[in-house]
């Protein structure tokens, strides 16, 4: 489906079931999926280590508990995607649209969120050490109880909720 055909922010219709190999727990590690439309699909717990998803459409995609170690999602559209409990070590979300993304309980070291749009994102209880939020939009993001030790928020824009977050060594 082309983005221009989209009517709802997230749709789950028959086309989301058109790829039977893309299911919860699937192994898509290392695959070249740049620019693909995976919106609304259920890939919970999938192995996406090192996957290439630059500028992909992941609106409302279910990636909870998925392993995205070393994945490249730079410039991807992840609005309303569900990444709760996902593993994000070394992944890049640089410049991605992560409006209202679910990152509750996600874990990762040196994840790149630079210039990402994290408006209204929910990284509560996430463990994100030494991550890069340079020039990201964090307006209304909720980092409640997140462990952000050593992360870099230099030039980040907007007011976020850091209630009981661990900001030890955070640069702002």
């Amino acid at each position: 489906m082309q983005e221009s055909d989209r009517i709802a922010d997230v749709e789950q219709g028959p086309e989301q079931r058109a790829h039977p190999e893309w299911q919860p727990g699937a192994d898509l590690s290392g695959q070249q999926l740049d620019g693909l439309d995976l919106s609304g699909m259920r890939l919970s717990g999938a192995n996406l280590r090192g996957v290439h998803l630059q500028s992909a459409n992941l609106k409302g995609t279910w990636l909870d508990g998925a392993n995205l170690t070393g994945a490249n999602l730079a410039g991807a559209d992840l609005q309303f995607a569900v990444l709760g409990g996902a593993i994000l070590d070394g992944a890049s979300f640089a410049g991605a649209n992560m409006h209202s993304v679910n990152l509750v309980g996600a874990r990762g070291t040196r994840v790149d969120f630079s210039k990402a749009n994290l408006y209204y994102a929910r990284p509560g209880n996430a463990v994100l050490h030494e991550c890069i939020f340079r020039q990201a939009n964090i307006q209304r993001a909720i980092f409640r109880r997140a462990d952000l030790r050593g992360s870099d928020f230099t030039g980040a824009q907007g007011q976020a909720n850091f209630d009981r977050a661990n900001k030890e060594g955070v640069r702002e």
């Binding site: 749709e11 789950q12 219709g13 919860p24 569900v82 679910n102 509750v104 209880n125």
Partner: protein, 186 residues
């Protein structure tokens, strides 16, 4: 099942359409405003809107109700007999609804408001403002807060962990994520 999620312009509220692929009947869940995309979504999938479920009576979930009823001639369902000035079929705990061949179960999840209800369909639950991703809806008193958390524990967290939770504001989530990470419960 056909599913659509709409981020509305009113207070960042969500609305959803659930449709039956077999009978082409559909329901709208919450109507914070009338959004022309509703009609386009229904047309795209050949659906007819027969019901509008209101999860609770706050303005950002009801302000578009009268206009949606007028546009789609759909019946209104809520925990009250009148919702935002519109006649409503009253649903309570344990009631069963049908969206075509999709069977839904109503559970009461009060606290944020006294009339809060959630809709459970296969694989999904719609919680309104009772439960959010990583949070819960605001309450007026400690007793209401306790009532809300207990209702969520009893009726939402008892669902399978992979159940999709679609909420009144913010991103969707799963029962498993909220049981493990929501700071109001852990």
């Amino acid at each position: 099942m056909i599913f659509g999620h709409f981020l509305l312009g009113v207070n960042e509220a969500n609305a959803f359409i659930l449709g039956c692929e077999e009978t082409k009947e559909a329901w709208l869940i919450d109507a914070g405003e009338y959004d022309p995309r509703f009609g386009r979504f229904l047309d795209k999938y050949g659906l007819t809107l027969t019901g509008i479920l209101v999860t609770h009576g706050h303005w950002d979930h009801t302000d578009g109700l009268a206009e949606c009823v007028a546009a789609f001639k759909a019946k209104v369902y809520s925990n009250l007999d009148t919702m935002a000035g519109v006649a409503s079929t009253q649903l309570g705990h344990g009631d069963v609804i049908h969206i075509g061949r999709i069977e839904g179960h109503i559970v009461e999840t009060p606290g944020h408001t006294p009339d809060g209800i959630s809709l459970i369909v296969p694989g999904m639950v719609f919680t309104g403002d009772a439960l959010f991703n990583g949070s819960v809806g605001g309450t007026g008193t400690p007793a209401d807060h306790d009532r809300q958390l207990q209702a969520i524990r009893d009726h939402i967290f008892s669902l399978p962990v992979e159940t999709q939770v679609h909420v009144g504001h913010g991103p969707s989530t799963t029962v498993g994520i909220e049981k493990q990470y929501n700071p109001f419960f852990v």
